[in-house]
Structure formats: C-alpha cells, structure tokens
C-alpha cells in the first residue's frame, strides 16, 4: 500500500471540501448565531450562505480542476464529469435560492446542511469510477434527500412521503448492491474500466443478467423510471420546494449521467439490441423497456391529475422515459444529448417549483384551479410559469424542444439508421399526449380570469430574480445550444 498523500487528496476533493466547510458553518451559525431572528430571516441567511458555498465550490472546481486520475483510481475527472459537476452546482444553487425568505421549515441549519450533503453525494457519484464508491455516493445523496423531504412543516404528510421514499429507495439500493456484488463476483473487479475488459467473456451467464437487472433497479429508482417511480408523486407533492427541486433536477441529472457512464463504459460490451429481431439480450432492451413503460405510465397518469405538483411528478416520470431513449445512442451523442436535456429540464423544473413556492407562501393550495388568473395576479410568475411549462412540453424555441430532439437523434444514430425509429415514434406519440396536460396547466394561468376577491401576488425579490434568470436561460439555451455544449462537431 502506498502512503496517503493528504495534500493531494485535499486538492483532489477541494470542491467537496468547500461544501463541507459551508455545511459546518451554516449548521453552527444557525444553531448559535441566528436563533433570535425570525424564520424568514434565518432561511434568507441560510440560503444565502449555502448559495455562496456552492458558488465558491464552482469557482474552486474551475480554478483547480483536479488532475485526471489514473484508470485504477476511484474517481475520475474528465471533461464530461467536470461539466456535469458544474451543472449540478448550478442546479443546486438555483434550488437553494428558493429557500430564501421561506418559512417552510424551522430547521434551517439542518435543511441547508442536508442540502449540501445531498449535493456532495451527487458530485461524488458523478466522478465515481469504482462501483463501491458509486454506491456509497448514491446512498449519501439518497439518504440526505429522504431526510430533506420530511422537513416540511406545512404538510403533515411529509414524513409519510419521506418514509415511502426511504422504503422504496432502500429496497432499490439493496437491489443495486446485490447486482453490483454479482458483477464483482463474476469479474473480480470494481473498476469500470476493468469491468469493461472482463465482462465480455461472461455473456450467457445468467448471473450477469441478474446482476445487470438488479443494478439497473437502483438507477431506475433514482431517475424515477417505471416501475420504480411510485415514490415520486408523494415526494413531489409534499417535499419542501428547494428539496423537491433538488430531487427533480440535480438528482436526476446525476442519475442519468451516471447511468449512462455505467452502461456505456462499464457494460459497453453487452449492449444487446433494442430493435426487434433478431433479439439479443443486453442492457439496451432493458433500458428500452423502462423507457416505454415510463413514457406510457407517466404520460397517461399525468392526464388525470388535478394537483400541479403531482402532475409534475408524473410528467417527470414520462420525461425520464425520453431520457432513457437517448441513453441508447452512441456514447458521444448520448452523453451530449443527456447532458443538454437533463440540465435544461432541471432549469425548468427548478423554476416551476419556485413559482409553486411563491404560490404556497401566499397560502394557495396546489390544485390546478388555484392557478386561475395568475396572469393578472402576477404577470412575472405567469410568464415564467408559461416558459417553464412550454419548455417541458417541448415547444421551440425553448430548450425542452432541442433537449428531446437531441435524445431522439442520438437514439437513431446507433446501429442501422432506422433501428430505433419505433422508440422515437412512441416517444413522439406520447409527446402529443403530454401537450394536453401541459396546456391544461397553462389554461388557468393565462386564460382564466382570477376570482374577484384575490389580490396581487407579491414575489420576493431574490425569488423573482432567480425565476427570471432561469426563464431566460431556458429560452437562450434553446436558441443557442452551443453556449452549453460548445460548438465542436462530432
């Protein structure tokens, strides 16, 4: 064993360390210094400090990018993981700003600390090159998110949803752990790169397929793909806005990218086929199955929803299906597509939770009907809400359109040109279905007149700024996608 070089270790994890220091600071300050202040002030300060920590972490990441680790290491930093980490910090930043001035929880310090811990877990997860590290990071983020879900004093059901989230999550995690151990047992390695090299010789071994299926379960849970989606509607409905935003945006981005890396790097030799006959088993048919199931269940269930947040949850399940279609593409295309899709999707979803927080703070229920007349009560919220929803619906020139388009084109690029056209057709068919419920969300916002007694809706300045920046980003990135992904060609 080589002796550990602590300085190098600290440099490698400088980003994560910044977050940990912020975590300690915000916990300490909230418990010691801010006790006398009102809840609104405490959450304002907590959110600001957390935001500063996230920005600093991003700065550190850009200034001292750790040297790419040797293939034998536990963590790697490639151009892609650097990009994903920055994107994650950005989404977390936007999410935590929703906390500012909110009175959603009395445990401000704990909330911020758990929030940072969850972000930390996601960052580590993205960089993990070792199956065990991957699992530990996955659990770190998941456990923090379970706890965050419960920290909502507006909703008595929050703890129930958190428990549901936890139970399903830990079952899925157990599956993943078992799956990983099977893969380890077969190949004798935990490294992605070695796994790739050795797995090819085990095709036909039933243990390999069992390992693959069980491993997939954990990630399907993370990205809320059917049939591991049942936690999503409850969590979306009752989790505090910033936490729900992190679950829906950051956690998904990390989940998709890690899943992509696991499949494309670790399990590259066993893709199988997702294009009908001749059938060949591998991860592609499994992912295609998850994708179709998610698109079908998510879109159809969303049609019946009457609550905004539950509707968003079902639509998120459907969107996970689209992303899984993109994951089938060749590595570079799929990575590019999933990066763009997951990040811009995250921007829109964080923005939506921001609008919903503003409504909830004004005492509105989350029934769709309570959005009635938003255009008159707060034009700003109405414009932002419309932008985000239309982006989710995939209407150009908003980013959601190109996001989906990239995914579909990526899927078509693997194999023969029309191999995956059936999946794209299914996805587009369900997009038509989705337009119905997205328009159903927009109808009260823009069409209906407000009830006579309702007042204008005040929006805190910081929240307004966050929403405007997010909406502008969704528009600008939709028109100029090269801003996000560079202008190189493949």
């Amino acid at each position: 064993m080589t002796p550990v070089d602590y300085l190098e270790l600290a440099l490698t994890f400088s980003t994560e360390l910044v977050l940990l220091v912020t975590l300690g600071l915000v916990l300490f300050l909230d418990l010691r210094g801010w006790l006398g202040s009102t809840l609104a002030v405490r959450s304002q300060r907590g959110a600001t400090l957390t935001a500063v920590g996230l920005v600093l972490a991003g700065g550190v990441l850009l200034t001292f990018p750790p040297v790419a680790d040797a293939p034998a290491g536990s963590f790697v930093l490639t151009q892609t993981t650097l990009w994903v980490k920055l994107a994650l910090l950005g989404l977390s930043l936007a999410s935590v700003l929703l906390l500012a001035g909110s009175e959603i929880t009395e445990h401000v310090g704990e909330f911020c600390a758990l929030f940072l811990l969850a972000t930390e877990g996601l960052l580590l997860m993205v960089g993990a090159e070792n199956l065990l590290m991957l699992f530990v990071a996955l659990e770190l983020s998941s456990l923090s998110l379970y706890a965050l879900t419960a920290l909502n004093r507006r909703h008595p059901d929050a703890s129930e949803a958190a428990l549901k989230y936890f139970l399903i999550g830990s079952t899925a995690a157990a599956g993943t752990l078992f799956g990983l151990s099977l893969l380890y047992g077969l190949t004798g390695t935990l490294q992605f790169s070695l796994l790739t090299a050795r797995i090819g010789s085990h095709i036909g071994d039933p243990l390999l397929w069992a390992g693959l299926a069980l491993t997939l379960a954990g990630f399907a849970f993370k990205v809320a793909a059917v049939p591991f989606h049942t936690w999503a509607p409850d969590v979306y409905q009752v989790a505090p806005g910033p936490a729900a935003a992190l679950v829906a945006a950051g956690s998904k981005l990390a989940g998709f990218l890690v899943l992509l890396r696991l499949l494309h790097a670790g399990l590259a030799p066993i893709p199988g086929t997702a294009s009908g006959l001749p059938f060949q088993s591998g991860w592609m048919p499994a992912v295609a199955l998850l994708a179709v199931a998610s698109m079908a269940v998510g879109n159809l269930a969303a049609l019946a929803q009457t609550r905004v947040r539950r509707l968003l949850a079902w639509s998120a399940i459907a969107q996970a299906g689209y992303a899984l279609v993109g994951i089938l593409g060749p590595t570079t295309d799929a990575t590019l597509a999933v990066q763009y899709f997951a990040f811009t999707y995250g921007l829109a979803v964080v923005g939506l939770f921001g609008v919903l927080e503003a409504l909830a703070a004004a005492g509105e229920s989350d029934e769709i009907s309570s959005l009635a007349g938003l255009w008159r009560r707060s034009p700003l919220l109405a414009v932002c809400f419309t932008t985000f929803v239309l982006s989710l619906a995939g209407i150009p020139p908003l980013a959601g359109f190109l996001g989906k388009f990239f995914l579909f084109v990526a899927a078509l690029k693997r194999g023969q040109p029309l191999d995956h056209l059936w999946l794209v057709a299914v996805a587009l068919g369900f997009s038509v279905v989705s337009l119905y419920y997205y328009l159903k969300l927009l109808k009260p916002v823009l069409v209906a007149d407000p009830a006579p007694e309702v007042r204008p809706l005040p929006v805190p300045r910081l929240l307004a700024l966050t929403l405007v920046v997010l909406a502008a980003a969704v528009l600008v990135l939709g028109i100029f996608p090269t801003l996000l992904l560079g202008s190189g060609t493949l």
Binding site: L421, V432, P481
Partner: protein, 495 residues
Amino acid sequence: MLAWTLYLSFGAAVASFASARCCPAVARWIALLGSVGGLVLGIVGALTLPAGGGLNTLVQVPWIPWLHAEYHLAADGISVVLVWLTGLAATAGVLFSWNLKHRAGEFFGWYLVLVGAVYGVFLSWDLLLLFVFYEIAIVPKYFLIAIWGSTRREYGAMKLALYSFAGSAAVLVGLVAAYALGGATSFNLSTLAAQPVAESVQHGLFALVFVGFAVLAGLWPFHTWAPTGHVAAPTAASMMLAGVIMKLGAYGCLRVAMTLFPAGLAPWAGVFGALAGIGILWGAVVALRQTDFKFVIGYSSVSHMGFVLLGLASATTLGLTGAVLQMFSHGVIAGLLFAVVGRMVYDRCHTRNLDELSGFALARVLPWIAVTFVIAALASMGLPGFSGFVAELKVLTGAWNRFPGWVAVAGLGLIAGVAYTLRAIQRVFFSGEPETAGTAPGHALEPVSLPEKLGTVLLVAATLVVGLYPRLLLDWILPALQTPLFAELRRRAGG
C-alpha cells in the same frame, strides 16, 4: 431583406407583450407597424432577390454543429408568394381587430408570434429550422382561440393544438428518419433531396410526412379541427388560420414531403387524390347544411383546400402551379370571408345564425358589408376575374389526366359551392323585411369603420389583381418549380 420579415414580426411581438402592462392601447399600432412592415419588406425584399423565382439563400450560418443543423433561410418563388400572402393576411387581420380591447397587448403579441413563425416556415431551408418554426406556430393559435375566442373556444383551441401537434409529430418521425438515412450529416433540404433514400422506404415515410403536414391543410378525414377551430377563433386568428396556417400544411406537403420522398407519391397519389376530391365535395355539402354563418365559411375552407391537395397529388407542373396559386387565392378570399362574418357581422349583430341575421336586413343598413361579402362570395365561387378562378381551373386541368373521376367530383363540389354561397348571401343579406331594417333587435348598428374599409380594399384588390393578371404570381411560381429541388418530381411526372 426578406429575412427581416420574421425578425420584425418577433420584435413587434415582444414590444406588444411589453406594452400589455403599461399601454395596451399602442399594441394595435405596434401590430400594424409590424404587419405592414412585413408586407413591405416581403415585396421589396422579393423584388431585390438576385435569382428571382429561383433559389436564393438569405442567411446560412452554423446553428448546432454536432448535428450539422444550420440557421439557413432561403426563398424561391413559392416562398415569395406565400410571404406576400402572410403579409397581406397579417395586415388585414390587424385592421379587422382594430376594435379589440380585451388584453390587447397580449393578443397582438401572440398574433405577431404566429405571423413571425409563419414567415419562418416559408423561409427555412434547413429542415430542423423549418420544423422549429412550424412548432412555434402551435402555441399562439391555442391562446388566441382559448382567450379571445367564442363558441366552445377551449374545446376548439385544444382540438386544434392537439391535431397540429399530432401532425407535426408524424412529420418529425419522417424528418429524423430521412436525416438518419442520409448519414446524419445535413438537415439541408437541397442536400437531402439530392440523395433520396431507397424507394421502398420512401413509400412509408412519404405517407407519414405528407399526412402529418396535410392534417394542417385540412385533408379529409383529418379536417375536423378546422371548422371548430375557425369558428371558435377571434376574427384575426380565424383569418390567419384559414388564410395562412392551413397553407403551412400544404406548403410542407409540397416543400418537404414531395421533394424528400419523390418516389413515395406514386403509390399514394390515387389515395390522396381521392381524399382531396372527397374533401372538396364533403366540405361543400356540409357547408350547405350549416345554420351558423361562420361554420359555412369554415367548411368552405375545407372544400377549397381540397383543390390545393388535389393539385399537389396530381404532381404535374400545371397542378402544382394551380395548388400554389390556390394557396394564395384562398388565403386572401378566406381572410375576407372570415372578416365579414367575424368582425363586420358578428361584432355588430352578436349572432351568426343565418335566420336571425336575416332580421337585420344588413344589405340596406350597411351596404358596405353586403357588397364586400358578395364580392368575396363571387371570388370564392370561382368567378372569372378573381384569383380563385385561375387557380382552381389550373388545378382541375392539371389533375384531369391523373384522376378524371375525382376532378368530376370536384366539379360537383364547385356546384355545391355555388349553392351554399348563394344560400348564405340570400339568407343573411337579402331576406329581411325592409321595414324592420336595422331596428329589429332594437339597437342601431355601428357604421363600418375606416380600418375595416382599408382591410376590405386590401384583400379585394389582391384577389382582383391576381385574378386579372395571374402572371404576377405565376412568374414567381413557375421558376421555383423548375429548380433542382423539384427535378426528381418533374422527371417522374413527365415519365
């Protein structure tokens, strides 16, 4: 300069939305400036095109390098004709919405987004870009109808949005398939058309893309969104819908489906010719049975769009020329008809029921309206001297050798067209009792305003000029059909 039509429209849309908070009263001026500007830019821009009716590239810069998608605007004669139509219809639409007060800033904002998107479709040469503009047009339609519409507006709006979106989903499947089969190296229309895919694949993809676009063109039996949508829409929106949006579909059929998959038409020509013929007769017969004035016009649009589709399905140069001419002609005439029904009649009488309208004796009280409608009706019936005559004649002669049976059916449709038009004229304008003129429901009718008169003159002049001197447009359309883009189609039609 043509490209500025769309920048101006989107810019004006932003300005109009911005005016919603402070000064909604200026929104209509912004909209007028935007739409007249679009018309002027369209005309001047077209006249300064170096290649005239041939292919002119306006802008070509990389957009999404890793997909090889470009921001590529180009215009040929077909684009020019339709850009002019858009300018005319948009301007007239603003003039006929001059009295709109409810949320005016937002109304004209959405309206201008729609106009800009339409310009974008007509000028895009990159298929992804074309599709983007095609999709942008969907959402404004929904809100224009759902917020400012009338009869069953939310149903009509949703139906229209879902039909459009379903059609465009089918189109997108076909487009990405063509892109992938072409090696995923270009979305350029000319490039993709120059390397057609295997014929057997073309058959399937052609049907998918053609039907996807034709949904918006009112292809029977996918036309049912059109009457409900037109009727529910506010005047300016129904003018745009019937006048221009339906042409988007037909344009897509011609520009994309028929050029990308030229071999695909052959096995389907009979089917689409039949559907077009049925649509012509069906629309006319159903219009004959309507009691709502606006539904009469709504179904007549389905009938007239059938001529466009018949011309396209014939794939002869004569038929295609007629189809494009009919797009322009019907755009202007339908705009005029909807303006009469929606703005001139309904806004004053607050009913569209044919029998109730007869009580107003409009021909005596407000002869301007009656005269306008009679002119529009004559144009719509296809009387010589108006643009519809030239266009429909060309379509019928062009299609005669291909589908004589369906041309005969279309002829029956023309007769039914005369019947429902005369029926509407007679019921609405010339069956009231003279002594109850204008006083029957107990209120004086507002006189015809200047913007209405201007709009009327604009549209009537357009249909008359083209009817009397069709070469004005034919000189643009014919060179466009001679470009390499249509080479394969010409070859097949000739052989």
